[in-house]
C-alpha cells in the first residue's frame, strides 16, 4: 500500500501570510486575537482574530484585481498560490483540488455586499479557485462543520489511494462574518474575552478567520523538509445531538480508535496531541473524557484556539500544519490562554513552549452535527 504524505503548506491568518511567519509568532507567545468594535461584524465588541485587510489587498494585487474576488477567495487564492509555487507541481488531469469551508462566501448574502448572491453557492467559490489556477477537474468542496479541515486531508488521501488523483491540493478557509458571529452569539457560545481552552475559567469561543493549504501526495521524490506521512485517520459521528457533543465523547473516541487501528501504532507512541479545544464548557469536557478513555491523558497536548480563535473550516488543516512544524522544529508550543485545568479528567496541557524530540502527533476535531475526526501523522525522516 502506497504511503500518503502532507507536504508543502501555507497558513494565512492574523499571525502572518506564510507558515514560517505564523510559527515565529506562536513561538513568541503572540496571539492574533484582539478586541474589535465593528458594527458590520457584531452589534457589541468581540474578541476575534482577523486578517489585515490592507495587507491582504496589497499582497493580492500581485496576483489579480482585488475587486474581482471576495475576501475569502483572495485568502484562498493567496494561500494556494504559495503552495503551488513552492511545490512546483504541474497541474495535470490527475491533480485534484479539495476546498474545505463551512460557510464560503456567506457574506455576499448581506445587502451591503457588492457581489452577486450567486457567489454564496459553494460551487461558485470552487469555480473561482479552480479557474484561477487552471485545475482540470471540478473542485470538490467539503463542508462538514468544524471537522472539515482535518477530514479534507482524509478525503485527499482516500482519493489518491483510489487512483482518482496523483496529487491533491487542499485549500481551507472561512472568514469572520456577521452571519457567523450572530449565530454563535445566539447560542451564547462566544467568550467576552480571549478564549482559554481546557481552563477552569474558560468562557467560550472566539471566532477567527484564516486560510490554509497543503499538498497531499504519494510521490516521495518531491517532499518538503517538514513533510509528514498520514498513518491513519477516521471520522465517526456521535449519533447523539446535532448541536451538543456526546457526554461520553463516543464519536471522538471511535474516530481515534479507528485511526490508531489503521496506523497500527499504540497510543504510547504519540508524542503530541493537537486537540480541538474550542474553550466552550461542553466541548473541552467531552474531549478530556475521550482522551482519558483512550489513555492519552499523559501525552503533551494543546489547543491552538488561543492564537487564532476558531477558524471553522480552516481550523483542522491550519492546526495540522502547525503540528507538522512542531515535529519539524521538535518543539511543543504552549496552549495559549491556559491557566488551571478545568475539565474532569487529567490532561497534560503544554504550559510553556519547549523543545523536545518529536516524531508522531495526533490531530482531532469535533463539530456540529455530531461529527468528529482524528488523524495521526509521522515525521518523514
Amino acid at each position: 500500500m502506497s504511503k500518503i504524505y502532507l507536504t508543502y503548506n501555507n497558513i494565512i491568518s492574523s499571525l502572518g501570510f506564510t507558515t514560517t511567519e505564523n510559527i515565529e509568532n506562536i513561538s513568541k507567545d503572540i496571539s492574533g486575537i484582539e478586541k474589535i468594535e465593528d458594527i458590520n461584524l457584531s452589534q457589541t465588541p468581540i474578541y476575534t482574530s482577523l486578517v489585515n485587510t490592507i495587507k491582504l489587498d496589497n499582497t493580492f494585487k500581485k496576483l489579480g484585481n482585488i475587486n474581482d474576488f471576495t475576501r475569502l477567495e483572495k485568502l484562498m487564492i493567496l494561500s494556494l498560490h504559495d503552495v503551488l509555487t513552492e511545490s512546483n507541481v504541474k497541474i495535470t488531469p490527475k491533480t485534484g483540488l479539495i476546498i474545505s469551508t463551512t460557510k464560503g462566501n456567506i457574506d455576499v448574502l448581506d445587502s451591503s455586499s457588492k457581489f452577486s448572491k450567486k457567489r454564496a453557492y459553494l460551487s461558485e467559490l470552487a469555480k473561482q479557485i479552480q479557474r484561477f489556477f487552471g485545475f482540470k477537474n471540478e473542485a470538490i468542496v467539503l463542508s462538514n462543520a468544524c471537522v472539515s479541515g482535518v477530514l479534507a486531508i482524509s478525503v485527499a488521501k482516500r482519493l489518491i489511494k483510489s487512483d482518482m488523483y496523483d496529487n491533491v491540493f487542499v485549500v481551507s478557509g472561512d472568514i469572520v462574518s456577521k452571519f457567523i458571529i450572530s449565530g454563535f452569539q445566539s447560542f451564547q457560545a462566544i467568550s467576552d474575552s480571549s478564549c482559554k481552552p481546557f481552563s477552569k475559567n474558560r468562557t467560550g469561543i472566539n471566532i477567527g478567520e484564516a486560510a490554509a493549504s497543503v499538498l497531499v501526495t504519494s510521490q516521495k521524490e518531491n517532499l518538503a523538509p517538514d513533510a509528514v506521512e498520514i498513518l491513519g485517520d477516521a471520522s465517526c459521528n456521535d449519533a447523539n445531538h446535532i448541536s451538543g457533543p456526546s457526554r461520553t465523547g463516543e464519536g471522538l473516541y471511535r474516530s481515534m480508535l479507528s485511526a490508531f487501528n489503521e496506523a497500527n501504532i499504540k497510543t504510547t507512541e504519540i508524542d503530541y496531541v493537537s486537540a480541538h479545544g474550542t474553550a466552550t464548557n461542553y466541548n473541552d469536557e467531552m474531549e478530556a473524557i475521550a482522551f482519558d478513555r483512550i489513555n492519552l491523558e499523559k501525552v503533551s497536548i494543546n489547543s491552538l484556539k488561543g492564537y487564532y480563535g476558531h477558524t471553522l473550516g480552516a481550523s483542522g488543516l491550519l492546526e495540522s500544519i502547525v503540528g507538522m512544524q512542531s515535529l519539524y522544529n521538535n518543539t511543543l508550543y504552549a496552549s495559549y490562554g491556559f491557566d488551571e485545568i478545568g475539565v474532569s479528567k487529567p490532561l497534560n496541557i503544554i504550559k510553556e513552549t519547549t523543545e523536545k524530540p518529536l516524531t508522531t502527533f495526533l490531530k482531532t476535531a469535533s463539530g456540529f452535527g455530531g461529527c468528529n475526526t482524528a488523524a495521526i501523522f509521522k515525521k518523514v525522516l
Partner: protein, 206 residues
Amino acid sequence: MKLETYISTYCHIRNNKILINGKPFIKDAFDTDFSIFSKKVYKDLNLSYPKFFKMDNLSKLAFLAAECVLNREKTNEDDNIAIVLTNRASSLDTDRKHQSSIQDKESYYPSPAIFVYTLPNIAIGEISIKHQLKSENAFFILDAFNAEFLHNYACSLLENNKAESVLCGWVDYDNEKYDCFMYKVSQIGDIKHTINKLQNLYKIKD
C-alpha cells in the same frame, strides 16, 4: 484491493413523489409545497419521531430518503454504515433565513434553532441519531450529481474497512426546489455498483 460492490436499495424523492427501487412508494402525486408533502410522507412511513418537525427542509428531505432506504433492510446499531451526502446548494435555503433575521438592526433576532441548520452535515447528524450510526460521514458540495466521485469515495471507505456499507446520496434543497437520490452500497446486492449504473439510476423517471 478492489472489491466487488453492489447497490442494494435506492430511492428518489422529486416532484412530490417517492420511488423506491424505481417503483412508486406514494402513488398519488399532489400539487403542494414540500412542507405539506413531507408531512404526508412522514405519516405514510408510520413515523413517530417528533424531532422531525424541528428539522429544516434539507434535513427533512435527507431524513425521509434515509428512512426509505434503511428501512428496506434490517439494520442494527452494530452495522457500520457510513453516510456520504452531496448537493449543490449546501444549506443555503436555511442560510437565507438566518441572514434575514440579522439583516436589519430593527428586526435583529438570530435564532439558534435556525442557525444550527446552516451547516449541510446537520442532515447527516439527524440520520445518524435516528439510526444510531456512529460511523464515517462527510458532506460534499458539487455542481451537479457526480457519480464518479461518489463511486470512488464509497469504494475507498469499503476497501479500507472504514465501513461495511455506505449510504450515499444527492440531497439538494434550494428555494422550494428539491431533488434527492439516495442509495446503499455494500458487498451485497443485486445491482452492480458502477459509475455508469449510478448515472443511469440517478436519471430514472417515474
